[in-house]
């Protein structure tokens, strides 16, 4: 048994008082550049087996919110009826496994967007997902933002539209990160600034709701995952992000490569979502392209600065142009 499995088993025994519990079949899960996921089996003394997932920060680094926060938002999402992996344990003490971690149930299925959008096996999922994603998103936006366990969620400064706050935040990040000038991005910023949407109701938003961050089976949606960027803001933000061209993974339909905007908007409203403002969704789609360009710049920059060693992250610097082309097309008016 590996040291990690032993430490994890010891912690679970202490946390549950179940002295006969064992950890087996611990194996790394693919995906997630910024944090580690491990699948394992928790074998009880009576032979019952729970299939679980351990999520922890890479040793010595804590990024994009804490695992405790991810644990709390997952728990609240489950209570609101959002399909998510059920959470089991959470530990803030970094000395146990080298960094804070939490444990959730393993949801079997596929996450690769290209399989979803191309493989014949997933044709039923492609047909069902627009309505299922819309319903899941409506439930997320219906979550109680004043829940005291979610007090860690960032809220736009009083008197500021969430869109204005996000635009200012990302412009600062972009200016600090970019090693090259990008006229297409400057034009997009000039387009965004005078069109900031006002928002009547601030809601909990997922912050990274898209194909690639859901687990699906041939029949459709199984779980919404990657709850690393939730905050209180404009619910249109999640819909705009879902429409960003990169998340169509080469397919043509605007909403995640799956369907037309109108079908998704209608399904979302029917499922109890906020009334959709197509102009605001469009604004957030433009912001989303700018944001994703900025993230690619930051990732490449971290390699250029010698902070990390990764060909994959370095190559993201050459993906920035994809968002520049899209920004030029989206801001013609």
């Amino acid at each position: 048994m590996t040291a990690l499995a032993e430490q994890l088993a010891g912690w679970i025994v202490r946390a549950t008082g179940e002295s006969t519990a064992r950890v087996s079949a611990l194996r790394p899960l693919a995906g997630g550049a910024s944090r580690e996921s491990w699948a394992f089996d928790l074998v009880h003394g009576d032979g019952r087996v729970d299939h679980l997932v351990l999520r922890r920060d890479p040793a010595g680094r804590t990024i994009q919110g804490s695992r405790r926060q991810e644990f709390l938002i997952l728990r609240a999402a489950a209570a609101a009826g959002v399909p998510v992996p059920a959470v089991r344990f959470c530990e803030d003490d970094a000395s146990i496994l080298g960094s804070p971690f939490f444990v959730m149930e393993f949801v079997a299925g596929e996450t690769l967007a290209r399989r979803l959008l191309r493989d014949a096996e997933y044709a039923p999922a492609r047909a069902a997902l627009p309505e299922q994603l819309a319903a899941a998103l409506a439930r997320i936006h219906g979550m109680e933002s004043r829940d005291p366990t979610l007090a860690f969620l960032t809220v736009p400064p009083a008197g500021t539209a969430p869109a204005a706050a996000e635009l200012a935040r990302w412009e600062d990040i972009y200016r600090a990160a970019t090693p090259d000038p990008h006229p297409a991005i400057e034009l997009a910023l000039r387009w965004l600034a005078p069109r900031v949407p006002a928002v009547a109701q601030q809601r909990i938003v997922h912050g990274d709701f898209r194909i690639g961050n859901v687990i699906f089976g041939p029949e459709g949606l199984r779980a919404v995952i990657d709850w690393e960027l939730p905050h209180v803001g404009d619910p249109m933000e999640d819909i705009g992000w879902l429409c960003v061209r990169s998340w169509r993974f080469g397919a043509s339909a605007p909403v995640g490569g799956l369907c037309e905007r109108e079908r998704f908007f209608a399904a979302y409203e029917r499922a109890g979502g906020v009334r959709v403002d197509p102009a605001a969704v469009r604004w957030w789609e433009v912001l989303g392209n700018f944001k994703w360009a900025t993230i690619c710049i930051m990732q490449a920059r971290s390699v250029l600065d010698g902070v990390v060693k990764s060909l994959e992250l370095a190559s993201l610097g050459r993906r920035v142009v994809e968002m520049e082309v899209e920004l030029m097309a989206l801001t013609e008016d």
């Binding site: 006229p183 297409a184 034009l187 060909l311 994959e312 082309v325």
Partner: protein
């Protein structure tokens, strides 16, 4: 002048080695990273195909747009790159000042920027080029 194979031919040989042999021999994350490496070499190969020609075109476009003399681009590649970078900075500053908010400069800027990003895309990801 170096002997054959040329730099581009060598790049292409390494790219084929990665794509045909290395990818097949690996699995999991290493296989994915070998694919990324092959794709990066393809980008570099396309960039070397006509880097100078594209830089001269971009230099001429930017000089015209910014109202500068546009008939004598720098002859050395490094100077050409530096000049394009400097004019791109100048263009960004003008966009931030609001100079490109209204006609007719707006249309001229959009046309020039659209051409530049299309040229970058043809190198970085020709499959997405539309």
């Amino acid at each position: 002048m170096q002997d054959r194979p040329t730099a581009r031919e060598l790049l292409e040989a390494v790219r084929r080695f990665l794509e045909d042999d290395v990818v097949a021999a690996l699995d999991g994350p290493a296989r994915f990273h070998a694919r990324v490496a092959a794709n990066v070499l393809a980008i570099v190969g396309r960039e070397l195909e006509d880097e100078e020609g594209l830089l001269v075109a971009e230099w001429t476009r930017l000089a015209t747009l910014l109202g500068r003399p546009a008939d004598a681009p720098p002859e050395r590649l490094a100077a050409l790159r530096a000049a394009v970078g400097e004019m791109t900075d100048a263009l960004c500053a003008r966009i931030r000042r609001g100079d490109a908010d209204a006609s007719p400069f707006r249309e001229a800027v959009r046309a020039a920027v659209t051409a530049s990003v299309a040229e970058k895309l043809a190198v970085a990801n020709p499959r997405m080029a539309r």
